[in-house]
Amino acid sequence: MKNRKIKNVFREGAIASQFIGDSIAKHQSKTTIGAHSIFLGQVRADELEGKTVSAIEYTAHEEMANIKFHEIRETTFEKFNLSCMHIYHSLGLVKTGEICLFVFVSSPRRKEVFKALEFVVEEIKAKVPVFGKEIFEDSSHQWKVNS
C-alpha cells in the first residue's frame, strides 16, 4: 500500500476539542491548502424504553482496524486531490456530548474536500471493525448498530 506507514488511529477516551483546534493550527504552515473539511462524531444521549444513553464504550479489532483505516486513507488519496488527511477514533469510554471520531481532510480546492470527507466517513462506518456498546444511566447496555 504505497509507502505510507500504518498509523495508530485510536485514542484512549474522548477526543478533546482542544486537540482538534491544535490540529487545525498545525496546518497553517501548509500554504497550498485552500480548504479543510472536518467531520466529528459525537455521542448522542439516545433514549430507548425510557432509558437514556450516558456513554458508549468502544472496542475494536485494533490491528485489523488500523489496516482498514490505512486502506481507506490510501484509496481516498487515489480518488481525490488531497493535501493531507487525519483520522482519529476513540477506544474505551466516551460520554454523551463527547467526540469519538475526528476526520480531517485538506485540499487546495474546496470541491474535493466535501466528497472526500463523506467518502472517508462512510468507508469507516462500513469497513472498520469497531464496536460501540451503548451504556445507559442504569448501567444496562445494548450494542450499537450503525444506520
Binding site: G41, Y58, T59, A60, H61, E63, M64, A65, I67, H89, C100, L101, V121, I124, K125, A126, K127, V128, P129, V130, F131, G132, K133, W143, K144, V145, N146
Partner: protein, 77 residues
C-alpha cells in the same frame, strides 16, 4: 491443529472470553463455525463476519491462518 479464535463486542459476551485456542480438524471456516455453534448455541442466531489474516473471508474459505476473528456488525464513529 490449534486455532486461536477471537471474539468481539456482543460475541465476547456470549463466549465469556475475548479469545481462546481450540484444536480443530476441520478445514473450512463454516466447519469451524459449526463446532463453535455447538459450544455456544447462542452464537447461531447472531449476525457476524469472519476475518482470517485480518481480512474478511467467506464462510466456505479454507482455514489457512492460525487465528480467526468473529466480528459482529461494525458500529464505529
Amino acid at each position: 491443529m490449534d486455532l486461536k479464535i477471537k471474539y468481539f463486542g456482543l460475541l465476547a459476551e456470549i463466549t465469556l472470553c475475548n479469545e481462546e485456542v481450540l484444536e480443530f480438524s476441520e478445514t473450512t471456516i463454516s466447519e469451524v463455525l459449526e463446532v463453535l455453534h455447538n459450544k455456544y448455541p447462542s452464537l447461531r442466531d447472531k449476525d457476524f463476519q469472519v476475518a482470517q489474516d485480518l481480512e474478511i473471508v467467506s464462510k466456505d474459505s479454507i482455514v489457512s491462518a492460525t487465528e480467526i476473528a468473529l466480528l459482529p456488525p461494525f458500529s464505529g464513529g
